[in-house]
């Protein structure tokens, strides 16, 4: 089913270092929170390791600011990005 996937988006420095701006992932039963998803992605190694590193990573779920414990479900849009620097 199409709704068993989530869209993951990356912005700014993360987008450049990971070499991608978005991907569609099958939702695994073990990935219940944005934090779980971050840890799974970090296991890809290389530049992906920073997602579980010391550098702060901001999270948005469905275009609203979220936290590692925020739950993610089928059809959600999850975004990871560095601390914002507008204004």
């Amino acid at each position: 089913m199409a709704t068993d996937t989530i869209t993951v988006r990356y912005f700014a420095r993360l987008r450049e270092e990971l070499g991608t701006d978005s991907e569609v992932l099958a939702l695994d039963a073990e990935q219940r929170t944005a934090g779980d998803l971050l840890n799974t992605l970090a296991e890809r190694g290389g530049p992906w390791r920073q997602l579980a590193g010391d550098q702060p990573v901001m999270i948005a779920v469905n275009q609203a600011m979220a936290r590692p414990h925020t739950r993610v479900g089928p059809g959600d849009e999850v975004a990871f990005f560095p601390p914002v620097t507008g204004g």
Partner: protein, 151 residues
């Protein structure tokens, strides 16, 4: 009428002021802030900026901040403009304008909106210099300015 505008085009503060001023005869105070690209960023020799954002989320978060401001202060009109894309030295980046009956409300809301624009809205600045480009890091002072509005 409130305004939230995010895009590449430049803006005219005089036009925004005119909108703020005609917000009714109960308006006694208009506070505005404009941010410009300046020539001394994290690195020296900055020649311009590139501003990325998260389309859709950006406008939504700013609208939420205006909503928060209206809950805290008595405001007539709020106009917020933030540019994205390529900007040169001395270009205008951001405008926040607030009208109110009283100056304390206008000042506080204007400052709250600018502070939280820097910490809560998905914009990212990349500085362009003669020797390359680099993403700007969030400043601890900006984080603190944003946090002081949390109760």
């Amino acid at each position: 009428m409130d305004l939230v505008q995010v895009g590449e085009e430049d803006f005219d503060p005089a036009e925004e002021y005119a909108h703020l001023r005609t917000s009714g005869s109960g308006t006694g105070a208009i506070a505005t802030f404009t941010g410009l690209v300046r020539d001394s960023g994290d690195l020296s020799g900055v020649t311009g900026l590139y501003l990325e954002h998260y389309p859709g989320m950006t406008e939504q978060v700013i609208t939420g901040l205006i909503h928060q401001a209206r809950e805290r202060w008595d405001l007539h009109r709020v106009r917020i403009i933030h540019r994205v894309g390529s900007l040169r030295l001395t270009d205008q980046i951001v405008f926040v304008g607030v009208s109110s009956a009283h100056r304390s409300d206008a000042f506080a809301a204007c400052q709250f909106l600018m502070d939280t624009l820097k910490t809560s809205v998905p914009f990212w600045k990349k500085e362009l210099t003669d020797s390359g480009e680099h993403w700007v890091e969030q400043k601890a002072s900006d984080r603190q300015s944003g946090e002081r509005w949390e109760e």
